[in-house]
């Protein structure tokens, strides 16, 4: 559905994106993750036909974004970062206008459906200028979905929403993702983790990692961290744990909880369990803490070494 080949874009002397190659299949929700200014919006603008790339090419829904821009634009739904709305129009008028611009057949039914899907029924006649940020975001999403596009491109779809609305919008995106290809950008890592099938991490215009959220975690988790909890106020457990082979660091967390860092590739859990039980401790809990996407993200976007860890 989306294929980008070596995309590059210059803003004056600054290269906003540099040799981006990626793809997204039908029914996939791909997350575009990166710090501000990484090139997410630029990439999305290229894919939606808003601006042409300086280098490389991209195909969306089977059409070239430069040579067949109109065909691409017919098949793409787009929610830009600043939701493009006309404040003096009512929600209904605005969606009617967009349906007309997009030549939606049976426009009335589709507008009603979009209004219903975004739960805007009681706001259909309100002026957009009077709506809250969250409602505007929903109107923007309704606009992007109106023509039932094959590809949906959402630039920071949960920006500025309150927590309840964030949950709601993520739910909607997951639902939409069943039958559309969705590409969304975010700098909220948990969002990518929750919503996306696949994550592209982009920094300074380059893709630094690409995988499922789970694989990314697994692949980049160098040191393993364990949480160990024993009953009571144990003494000497810290020292006991430190003696076990493969354990690098033990930090007490209070109330019988310890965080144990083990050397990569060493399975220390059986040994830890045995040692604690032999010592007469009541082992209540032991689990592996996965490296959070946050940590992976920081590592990838802040160290130059990590940028070489490009996926094979």
């Amino acid at each position: 559905m989306i294929q980008a080949e070596n995309l590059g874009k210059w803003y004056g002397p600054r290269k906003a994106i540099d040799g981006l190659t990626f793809s997204a299949a039908k029914g996939e929700i791909v997350g575009f993750l990166g710090p501000n200014g990484a090139g997410k919006t630029t990439t999305m603008r290229i894919l939606t036909g808003y601006m042409p790339p300086n280098e490389g090419s991209a195909r969306v829904a089977g059409f070239d974004v430069v040579d067949q821009s109109l065909e691409v634009r017919k098949r793409v739904g787009y929610l830009p970062e600043t939701v493009p709305l006309y404040p003096e129009m009512s929600v209904q008028e605005y969606l009617d206008f967009m349906a007309s611009l997009r030549h939606v057949p049976d426009a009335d039914a589709h507008v009603d459906e979009a209004i219903e899907r975004m739960h805007l029924e009681d706001r259909a006649d309100s002026f957009i200028g009077n709506l809250s940020k969250g409602l505007r975001q929903r109107v923007g999403l309704a606009q992007a979905l109106l023509h039932q596009p094959e590809v949906l491109i959402l630039d920071e779809p949960t920006l500025g929403l309150d927590p309840a609305q964030v949950v709601e919008v993520r739910e909607m995106i997951r639902e939409i993702g069943h039958d559309h290809t969705v590409m969304l950008s975010t700098h909220i890592l948990s969002e990518a983790q929750q919503v996306c099938n696949r994550v592209l991490i982009i920094n300074k215009g380059k893709i630094v990692a690409e995988d499922t959220p789970e694989h990314l975690q697994a692949r980049l988790a160098g040191a393993e961290r364990l949480t160990v909890r024993v009953a009571g106020q144990p003494e000497g457990v810290e020292n006991l744990l430190k003696k076990i082979r493969g354990v690098n660091l033990v930090s007490p967390r209070g109330k019988g909880e310890f965080e144990v860092e083990t050397a990569p590739g060493v399975e220390a859990r059986p040994e830890i369990a045995r040692a604690l039980v032999d010592d007469g401790q009541d082992l209540l809990e032991m689990h592996v803490q996965g490296m959070s996407l946050e940590a992976i993200f920081l590592e990838l976007t802040h160290s130059d070494v990590a940028s070489k860890a490009k996926p094979a």
Partner: protein, 243 residues
């Protein structure tokens, strides 16, 4: 083509909720009303027939200053608010957007012209044997052509800036420069005079349509100016994409 009408209809409707449009229209109608009153009064005092063109000449000047205000936000506002991203990623060709904007503003301009027709009609009713309708029709036809070029230049200027005020002064500036080309023609000679005279925006109206003559050269002048401005406006929108 359909997109063009969709955009034109939205712009046209927008004028009826736009304070600027009301302010411009109200100013034009008030000033014309006052001048009409003065014209009637002076003809009564001097026992001369009232001048049927009395509202037309000031109307041309009022449009010169008023239309740039009507057109200034057409594209600049889309750039300022980011809605341009919506239009440029919808399956709409750039020229359809630009021509649609022009049509929408033309619609509002035509309404202003239609309302000002009230004064000649009134004059026709209160004088005997009434006024000559022929020159009036030709004057309004000329005015319509002038309006078309004014609006097109306004749309072009609006495509250049995200700031409506900058667009206003740019289109007013272009129109004023064209308007006073006749002054340059007066002091030039040879081919230069011909050129300046040809470019003179107001002469193409005042020497012909206003005087009751319909000339294809004026038609060609205003229509080609309209086409050129809309073409350039489209190129400015296209150029935005490469920024």
């Amino acid at each position: 083509m359909r997109n063009m009408w969709t955009i034109a209809a939205r712009e046209f409707r927008h004028y009826f909720v736009s304070p600027i449009a009301y302010a411009v229209a109200a100013a034009i109608f008030l000033i014309l009303g006052l001048l009409f009153y003065a014209n009637l009064g002076s003809s009564l005092l001097n026992q001369t027939p009232p001048d049927p063109n009395s509202s037309l000449s000031p109307l041309a000047t009022l449009l010169l200053f008023g239309m740039p205000a009507i057109t200034m936000r057409l594209i600049s506002d889309e750039q300022r608010s980011g809605t341009i991203e919506l239009l440029l990623t919808a399956p709409v060709r750039d020229w359809e957007m630009v021509v649609g904007k022009w049509l929408g503003a033309m619609g509002f301009g035509v309404i202003i012209l239609a309302v000002t027709w009230f004064y000649p009609i009134l004059l026709n009713m209160i004088t005997s044997p009434g006024i000559d309708q022929g020159p009036l029709v030709s004057a309004y036809l000329g005015m319509l052509l002038m309006l078309s070029a004014m609006v097109a230049i306004g749309v072009m200027a609006s495509a250049l800036f995200a700031n409506a005020i900058a667009a206003y002064f740019t289109s007013l500036g272009i129109l004023l420069v064209l308007w006073i080309m006749g002054l340059a023609a007066q002091v030039s000679s040879g081919g230069l005079t011909t050129l300046f005279n040809y470019l003179d925006f107001s002469a193409h109206f005042f020497n012909t349509g206003y005087a009751g003559v319909i000339d294809t050269r004026d038609l060609a002048y205003y229509l080609s100016l309209t086409a050129l401005a809309l073409f350039l406006g489209t190129r400015f929108v296209e150029a935005r994409r490469w920024k």
